[in-house]
């Protein structure tokens, strides 16, 4: 796999980016063929943190396997858990109490905000601006604290169980969340001032890594990556789950399909997430936070597929059950995997420096790709 020689027969230079490289945000290895400074081909070499979560899940019970999925896309771990819990609930036809659904969706959106904040800081850092990273982490820390109080963990929350959530919300949860929203709403315009309107940043991002609508669909792109090309693919809108059909929010679409478009979509999505949380936070209904379920769960024979929208795009959980204690086969359709497959198409013909700007707005999380 690794090229021994740095120059191939046609005189093109072959360089390795990664597996350890700041711009890949994880252990991703790209073998890039260059003609001068222009990218001719990118061959991703994956699997440095492949743990075969799908195989692992085949020997875990329907209560246990949910927690492994926190380790896929660790920035959307709550949403991953939500998807798995939804699939099990679909199989067992468990009615989830409304209180649990409200809590889940608020947590989902907080997770999305935290993920987008980290992305914003890291993306700006990738193209040379260090300050935004500290701004983003200041706000993200507040979300992590809210999570820690209620879920007991900051990153891999493991808060969802089949039938609801593991514990009721902390008494301070609503107050702190509202305080955070008020604080963050003030800070978002600062984000725009600092980065969005910056002409140097715009020059790095505009007309870079363009992907057309047709290509984005063909490559299976989802999430902000596809929506920047004008593909309407927000699962929360197209196939609503939980209480997403009861809340008001807009699907953010851009038509440019370039790195700046992907940047703008995520910035707008943060505002939409705030809007969703504001509608729910004061209206969490009283009642149980968890439905009564049997101690041992057995899914009936059949196949169950759930699609949710994580911070990076569409996550699919496909369970094939033979009626036993453990899933017969699980497949996780991870958003990052398909988004990465479009990287070669996006970066071809661009300069090597622009590859970093493209990677920054694809928002790849490597454990999500390798699984």
């Amino acid at each position: 796999m690794l090229e021994e020689i740095a120059v191939n027969d046609t005189g093109d230079l072959i360089i390795n980016v990664g597996p350890q490289h700041p711009s890949t945000h994880g252990v991703l290895h790209l073998i890039i063929t260059l003609n001068g400074e222009t990218i001719k081909n990118i061959d991703p070499n994956l699997g440095y943190i492949h743990r075969s979560i799908e195989k692992m899940c085949e020997s875990l019970s329907y209560r246990q396997f949910i927690y492994v999925t926190s380790r896929m896309d660790y920035l959307s771990s709550h949403i991953n858990n939500h998807a798995c819990a939804l699939t099990v609930e679909k199989g067992l036809q468990i009615e989830v109490p409304e209180r649990a659904q409200y809590i889940r969706v608020i947590m989902d959106e907080l997770t999305r905000l935290a993920s987008h904040q980290l992305w914003w800081g890291a993306a700006a850092m990738d193209v040379g601006a260090l300050t935004p990273f500290f701004h983003a982490f200041r706000e993200r820390e507040m979300i992590n604290e809210i999570m820690e109080e209620t879920c007991g963990a900051r990153l891999t929350m493991n808060y969802n169980v089949p039938g609801g959530v593991m514990a009721d919300i902390h008494p301070d949860f609503q107050r702190k969340t509202k305080a955070f929203l008020a604080f963050f709403k003030d800070k978002l315009p600062e984000y725009d001032e600092l980065v969005t309107g910056n002409i140097i940043f715009q020059n790095r991002m505009k007309d870079i890594g363009i992907i057309s609508k047709e290509d984005a669909i063909s490559y299976g792109c989802s999430g902000p990556t596809a929506r920047a090309s004008g593909v309407s693919c927000d699962i929360r809108k197209t196939h609503p789950y939980s209480i997403y059909d009861k809340v008001q929010f807009d699907e953010v679409l851009e038509t440019t399909g370039d790195s700046f478009g992907r940047y703008l979509v995520r910035m707008q999505e943060m505002r939409q997430s705030i809007h969703i949380i504001e509608q729910l936070i004061d209206n969490i209904p009283e009642g149980d936070f968890q439905a009564k379920t049997k101690a041992v769960l057995k899914l009936p024979k059949g196949e169950f597929y759930t699609r949710v929208e994580t911070a990076r795009g569409e996550l699919g959980v496909y369970i094939v059950s033979e009626g036993g204690l453990t899933p017969y086969r699980i497949k996780f359709r991870s958003p990052g995997f398909s988004n990465l497959s479009a990287l070669n198409h996006m970066a071809k013909g661009q300069k090597i420096g622009d590859m970093v700007a493209i990677m920054a707005t694809l928002d790849l999380v490597i454990p999500d790709i390798d699984r």
């Binding site: 875990l60 669909i217 497949k331 995997f337 398909s338 497959s341």
Partner: protein, 152 residues
């Protein structure tokens, strides 16, 4: 958006040998691996079907045979269909879909290394996640690896 019965009728009109599975939340259709590519190509190209988005491609090992599973959606009409194809376990072969949906290129490479399915006419069928010298097909049910595999 096309209802389940209408979709079923359309698919039967394209290929009369397709069988359907009762129940399930999505429409499940079984097709012979030799006819699979033609059917999927038609599903992709026909205007009133327009299945242009492949959101999942995977394989299931049933011990007696392997089943390829294609989840398709139309971004225009928003209907969903699942196409399945049973493959021989000893010599699993099916045509590649990577020229119809570009996303299939990497997904098929993943299925190739984990299940050992050979995709005919695939442009670049190499291992993706595992190292090149890896032996065996890890997601098959009879796969044993005393060193790397943790039994829970």
């Amino acid at each position: 958006m096309m209802e389940r019965e209408a979709l079923q009728a359309q698919i039967t009109a394209i290929n009369a040998n397709v069988t359907f599975e009762e129940g399930g939340e999505m429409l499940n259709a079984f097709v012979d691996p030799k006819e699979c590519r033609d059917l999927l190509q038609t599903l992709h190209n026909m205007d009133d079907l327009a299945f242009d988005y492949m959101f999942c491609l995977t394989c299931v090992d049933w011990k007696t045979h392997l089943t390829m599973v294609y989840h398709l959606e139309s971004t225009k009409h928003r209907h969903v269909v699942v196409i399945k194809s049973k493959l021989d376990r000893e010599n699993p072969e099916i045509d590649t879909m990577s020229d119809i949906w570009r996303t299939a290129e990497l997904l098929e490479r993943e299925v190739y290394e984990l299940f050992g399915v050979r995709f005919i006419n695939h442009p670049d069928l190499r291992k993706l996640l595992l190292s090149d010298e890896w032996e065996g097909w890890p997601l098959r049910k009879d796969y044993e690896d005393p060193i790397n595999m943790i039994k829970l």
